[in-house]
Amino acid sequence: MRARSILLHTTLVATIACGRTAPGRAGLVYYESYDPRSLDPALSTDVPTGEMVTLAFDGLTQFDPDGRLEPALADRWTASPDGRRYVFHLRAGVKFHNGTPLTAAAVRASFLRVLAPGTRGGRPWPLYPIAGAEEYAAGRAAGVRGMTLRDDSGLAFTLTEPLAIFPKFLAMPVASVTPAPAPPELGQRPIGTGPWRFVAWQHDDALTFARNPDYWGGAPLADTLIVRIVPEPLTRAAEFEAGRLSVIEVPFGETARWRAQHPGWLAEKPALRVVYVALNNRRGPLSDTRVRRAINQAVNVPEILATVYGGRGILARGAIPPALAGSDTTRRAYGYDPAAARRLLAEAGYAGGIDVQLWRTASNVELSRAAQAIQSQLAAAGVRVELVERDASSQREAARKGQADMVILDWWADYPDADNFLYPLFYSGSFGAGGNYAFYSDAVTDSLILAARRTTDDAGRTALYRRIDDRVYAAAPWLYLWFPKDLWAHRPDLGGWDLPVIFNGQRWTHARVGGR
């Protein structure tokens, strides 16, 4: 009995305390599933860090929620006809949160800082197209020769070769502009030009931002934005249902229930992501195109998408997501045909079937389940799959070193362009760590990918993208699965928020609680 009265007492005290401390009811509350690395743009190599950097900082360009490129700190730019030289003109009157004015020198200093070896950020590549950037990063040059100040408000970039999508590279968080010289502890107390000023960061708990009333793009409508760190999806769902998170990605387990009970909460959009199984094109039987095609025919992808993934995706008939120019949704899919798969395997000399390993990681529950479904379906066609389960880090290492036959993976866009789904994933120079986990290598594909990068005319580039995707699809370097559709829920009283197709496409400036 005593135990019960103590419990009751604790609960009562707690309830009273709760009334006092419930946070962020009036403001906006977003979440991350783990603590960002840092708030230093130079360290933004993962999604939580990139999203937080996007709140406090701006780049020369930016993406809107639909992934369209927009002017940001540069209000206009020009490209030379050959696409090798760009001039960016800075927006006038922009100030950092500490009151110092934005200058072209600060932009240059920010880029140098990202490239400087001592920064140890790990993501200098978005700036590598600038002539001399790679040499500077390697410590072989004192400056970056392709980056020059025109005056206080203009910067010229000369690239190593034409790159039509260079302005998109500059919208990535790593290319954000920081004050010069960079303030100490920039990663803990960021000072940017972005819509939100940094207020506080309790690690593993929450970040607090306040509106920047002087934001050049119009001050945010809400006063505060709290970003909580909530690692567990079901806890997030509870927090959302209790009204303590403004938006949330719908947990897979809740898909059907929320679709039925709260359709008004939901927002759905095709994401710039692809889910696939990389087939190591250089290992054993998988080096035979016929075997890889057989695998694509032996798996009933629509069924797995509908059951394991809650139908939250669009069947992949290529690597370019449907929202991007260059995607071809009418391409003929391999289609589920186990008998044809068996015939192809026999034709390749594997009438008795093959034995392969499929790597998966438990930290991605849905993909892990999909791997299991793939295993059982492939068995029916004579492909005997052994599932290898490792943590994400070990899996990544094995995949990068080419030690895994098959790995189930997803790929998130860094910039909204088909190039982001071709150059890293299928260019032979991107083997392993660069993103080409299938170790797919084809001279024609390589030259087409490079040609597309050099093509300044949009229609011509789109045509090339489609051709590349056609060619690669026919070679079946992957088991093509699906393009995820993001399914998010927002509180009924949240207005002005739009589900972004890319992680850094949402700045929360138009969002507010109450009044849609």
Partner: protein, 305 residues
Amino acid sequence: MRLVGRRLLMTLPTLFGVLVVAFLLLNVAPGDPVAAMVGERADSATIARLRAELHLDDPLPARFGHYVWGVVRGDLGRSYITQRPIVQDLEERFPKTVQLALAAMLLAALCGITLGAVSAVQPGGVFDRLAMLVSYLGVSFPVYWVGLLLILVFALGLHWLPPSGSGGLAYLVLPALTLGMRSIAFLSRITRAAMLDVLSSDFVRTARAKGLSEATVVLRHGLRNALVPVITVLGLDTGSYLTGSILTETIFGWPGLGRYVLTAIEKRDLPAIQGGILFMSLVFVLVNLVTDLLYAKADPRIAYD
């Protein structure tokens, strides 16, 4: 005091052993710390440069010597991932872990010992059967499930408490209950068993024969003498709670040590894992020391010399 000093000195070899094992295991385990630093798309030149800058390609003995020298000076290094000093990270998380651990232990001690003691007074009685059912359930239900169930009932159903996060006392209740659940169950069973043992011994019969009240018999003669095994369990549990609790902290978004080390492991953040393990070992060793000293307090027959 001399005893404490000697015992503290004896912890040094233990900690050094932990350091050696942790260092070696981490460095032979698969997974590249640089891979987590560069993210999903990188070029091999950057990776090679980062490895060189972090001395990851140096011979193992040299790296170990460098690390030990840092530890001796009280410097656990900086995280590869966040670039923050590890000591600062631990300083930030540990108070949160202590808060949760103490709350859980307090709850466990109060509920567990009470349940166990009261059950032992009338073994086989209604209360005893009920209490043992509760403790069976407490031991059998996984922490994960209990945590989510508590959120469902107290946060979503009754709206009494916040589902997760940290802040005032209200935020402490559900995680402490989740974390303490197993201890409540264990403690009640162990207290009951020890009490039954003690209550059937000769001196208790003598005490009753002297005409002492039942309360005095149970509390002064019974409970006090049943405390040694209880302290053992309390000590072990406190030690493990103070070193963080990954599941409870993850479910309730509690910013403690457990999650810190888990994140570090996922990213192969070697300095953070090593520093975390070393710190946890230190805490564990110290808690064990305190437990040993408490034995002597509870039972004067136990002496250390």
